[in-house]
């Protein structure tokens, strides 16, 4: 019987990076080959279709939602705060942004409206994360479970709002609110569907959080909390407070993303699962893809966003494949990244005994 073991390996940073890039390129080549075999289109055409997904500026549509959530989650996960409720915090953030835009006098003031809406969205996002953090701190209740369940409460609360008191007057009984005033909407770039303002904010947030995590005392203590909580306590910093700040930050950033979704993409509040549409869960995967490092999350979110664009781009034109196949190709590209990550950290040892 052969014995298989997984053994950790130490590779120099350069070698590891080169190896990763090579595996990812190999994945792309396989995807191109697959597309061309299935559609009968030439390899060249399939390649161009794939490349267009990566060069499309609309990747920012997805980056501006995924990046802030993933940055927040990286902070939380670094501190071993297992916040799986980004989806719900995002949805509640969207509710907050809609509230400011539709039901307060701020809603009709240019510049003020989107700013207030985004800040309030972040605030509500943090607030939605609070109960789980408090339960953990006071009673030791597993925060992964509570945050996960809070997602569904957020969905249903939003559904209640859009089907009940907040249902729009000009929507013919459809479960949405009315459109938010135009002053509250964040304009998009002509020819594209994202907003530079939001992209700039997201990158600034990622940079600031990088500084916070690696250059401030609290940030360094936060990261240490994951590996050695006792050490942090000995250094005289309350681990509970660190836990709380990590939790609230991740909630606030998810709430911010929810605000972005309303102000840029929907222009109104829609049903919970449609606002969230799984971004809160995708961001969990993304934050690990970026190694919980806010700076690395920028390329990681770019890659994930490009895959989203790709799954639609693949459906259009002469190298067109169906939605299911497009998703299969996109999924295999993602699998190759994980494979690359695995191969650079571990190796398989097979012994014949």
């Amino acid at each position: 019987m052969p014995k298989v073991a997984i053994v950790k390996r130490e590779l120099s940073k350069t070698v590891a990076t080169v190896a990763k890039v090579l595996v990812i390129l190999l994945g792309l080549l396989i995807a191109i080959a697959l597309t061309s075999i299935i559609t009968g289109a030439s390899m060249e055409l399939a390649g161009i279709t794939l490349l267009q997904g990566f060069l499309n500026l609309n990747v920012f549509v997805y980056i501006s939602t995924l990046l802030p959530i993933a940055v927040g989650l990286s902070i939380a996960f670094s501190a071993s705060a297992w916040n799986l409720g980004a989806e719900g915090q995002l949805v509640i953030g969207a509710v907050g942004a809609t509230f400011i835009a539709l039901y307060t006098p701020f809603g009709r003031q240019e510049v003020v409206a989107p700013l207030m809406a985004l800040l309030f969205a972040s605030f509500l996002g943090a607030l939605w994360a609070l109960p789980a953090a408090l339960l953990k701190m006071a009673r030791g209740i597993n925060e992964a479970l509570t945050t996960l369940l809070m997602n569904f409460i957020a969905y249903h609360m939003t559904n209640y709002l859009v089907k009940g008191p907040w249902r729009g007057r000009a929507v013919y009984g459809y479960p949405t609110t009315d459109m938010i005033p135009v002053q509250a909407r964040i304009p998009t770039v002509p020819g594209y569907s994202f907003s530079w303002y939001v992209v700039v904010i997201c990158v600034v947030i990622a940079l600031l959080m990088q500084l916070f995590l690696y250059r401030t005392k609290v940030g360094i203590a936060l990261r240490a909390l994951g590996s050695s909580p006792r050490f942090v306590e000995l250094a005289g910093i309350s681990s509970k407070r660190l836990f709380l700040i990590a939790f609230l930050l991740s909630g606030a950033l998810a709430g911010f993303a929810g605000g972005v979704k309303v102000l840029v993409y929907h222009g109104k509040l829609v049903e919970g699962p449609i606002v969230g549409s799984g971004y809160g869960f995708t961001a969990i995967m993304l934050s690990w893809l970026g190694g919980l490092n806010p700076l690395l999350l920028i390329p990681a979110s770019y890659y994930t966003a490009a895959l989203y664009i790709l799954s639609f781009g693949l459906q259009i034109g002469s190298a067109a494949v169906g939605d299911a196949l497009a998703n299969a190709i996109v999924g295999s590209l993602l699998a190759f990244i994980l494979l690359a990550d695995f191969l650079t950290k571990y190796r398989l040892v097979i012994r014949w005994s």
Partner: protein, 487 residues
């Protein structure tokens, strides 16, 4: 204190980041404000829209080869809404293959639609069909951004210079199905699984109830239509659960639904195998094969009727990106965009009624309310079908928002000696008074229920025909519809 300072610093930095980022972006894009006035039902809504200034666009010319794209909200394999749109796309793709190139993108969520539209425009598609109400606002935004692209949005009410709307409505078919249901039911209790109680579905529920009562009351049955709302367009599990509740708790023996899957049909067929007969009407696509023993008839849609008309006119240069503001298709049975039936034979002909149920429908005799004759229910269904199909002057009025209100005119007096009057609307209209009903709570957009509380009484006087706007804004149930709420 140092710790606290750090927390505060982190939060302050976050806020500064948001503010700074916002201003940085704000001063990098020029904008202008556009005010538009859109008629929404009876009222008028004025909207102000800020759009980033676009450079001068070259004049529109009809392209040699037209590239048209469809955006679907669900998978083509749903065998309902998106599937039938795609059948329509395939028909025009084949019919106009000399000058038309088509593509589609499926499973698109509302917030993803704008980026998909960008992609389609970049790849040279100049005619874009967005086939879900969910896409309305996104399509509208993009129509303003791309003044040279022709947009057609299905089922909405927002239009623009380069954005038209279209819809094929099934209420007449639901009425015909109602006639059959009224004849077949033994308990008098009918079950309706509704996706959402928006005007479209409310109209369909009422039309079905009106048909069922017309026949059922004459056969001595006390007709009640029980409605359960599932809150989603596509959810086979919920649809099945609702159907089960209707059968087990409300003792219904006829099921009809507005949901995009075959779940309810399959459920009824399963019951049949267990020895319980519950009749069912298929929805949207031909679902006969999923329930050959229980499907009586159903509603069919043929989007190709509308797509052919639109694309032929785009090719001829009639529809241009500066004149779509009033293009609003409201196609009924007379146009062929919808049909009665549950099955399409390989040769393309439609099975209107499952042969298994024809003898039963021929046995039941009722009075035709228009003529007073005693006829079988089968003959009544066919008679009404013909009456609603024959309306030669109607179709030209059904393509524009401006002429919708004329559709309910019964005739135009000509004063000529040999042709004293020209008929417009079909001889028969299901929504003709006397009708009694009640307003749905939290709505109020029709002339019957605006400003009234929920459950306020609605009375439509004898002989009054509801108009296009009444149908489009319908927010009341007829009195024998029992709404059971949402699951």
């Amino acid at each position: 204190m140092a710790k606290l300072a750090s927390y505060v610093l982190a939060i302050v930095l976050l806020i500064i980041g948001i503010v700074a980022g916002y201003y940085a972006g704000f001063y990098t894009a020029p904008q202008k404000v556009i005010t538009t006035t859109i008629p929404v039902g009876a009222a008028t809504v004025t909207m102000t829209t800020t759009v980033t200034a676009t450079p001068q666009v070259p004049a529109y010319t009809v392209p040699e080869k037209i590239k048209a794209a469809w955006i679907y909200v669900g998978p083509v394999g749903d065998f309902g809404w998106s599937y039938m749109h795609d059948v329509g796309r395939r028909v025009v793709a084949e019919l106009f293959k000399d000058w038309l190139e088509t593509t589609y993108v499926e499973n698109v969520r509302a917030d993803q639609a704008p980026a998909v539209i960008d992609e389609l425009v970049k790849k040279g598609y100049t005619v874009i069909f967005t086939t879900s109400f969910d896409f309305m606002d996104q399509t509208f935004d993009k129509a303003m951004q791309y003044p040279n692209i022709l947009f057609f949005h299905c089922s909405g009410y927002k239009r623009w210079k380069n954005m038209g709307t279209y819809f094929a409505d099934l209420y007449q078919i639901y009425y015909l199905n109602g006639l059959m249901a009224g004849a077949l039911t033994k308990t008098g209790k009918l079950g309706y699984v509704a996706a959402h109680t928006i005007p479209e579905v409310v109209r369909h529920i009422n039309a079905f109830a009106i048909g069922a009562k017309e026949v059922g009351a004459q056969l001595g049955k006390n007709i009640t239509v029980y409605v359960i709302e599932i809150g989603e367009w596509y959810n086979p599990d919920k649809a099945r659960a609702a159907a089960k509740t209707l059968v087990e708790q409300f003792n219904v023996d006829v099921l009809i639904f507005t949901e995009d899957s075959t779940a309810v049909v399959v459920f009824a067929q399963d019951l049949y195998k267990q020895g319980k007969e519950v009749y069912v009407f298929s929805h949207y696509s031909p679902m006969y094969e999923w329930g050959p023993d229980v499907v009586v008839s159903g509603q069919l849609v043929r989007w190709e009727v509308i797509y052919t008309d639109i694309l032929a006119k785009v090719k001829a240069g009639i529809y241009r990106p500066d004149n779509l503001e009033n293009i609003d298709y409201w196609y009924l049975l007379n146009t062929g965009a919808v049909d009665l039936g549950a099955h399409v034979y390989p040769n393309g002909s439609v099975m209107h009624i499952n042969p298994k149920f024809i003898p039963k429908l021929k046995e039941a005799k009722v009075k035709d309310v228009l003529t007073g004759e005693l006829v079988s229910v089968y003959d009544l269904v066919m008679r009404r079908y013909q009456q609603m199909k024959e309306a030669p002057l109607l179709q030209p009025l059904q393509g524009q928002a401006l002429t919708h209100l004329l559709e309910s005119l019964e005739k135009v007096e000509t004063g000529a000696k040999y042709v004293p009057a020209a008929p417009i609307a079909p001889i028969f209209e299901p929504f003709t008074g006397p009708l009694k009903g009640y307003c749905l709570p939290e709505r109020g957009y029709s002339r019957f229920c605006t400003g009234k509380p929920g459950y306020a009484e609605v009375n439509i006087p004898p002989g009054e025909r509801l108009t296009h706007d009444d149908l489009w804004n319908m927010d009341f149930f007829v009195s024998w519809v029992a709404y059971q709420g949402k699951i």
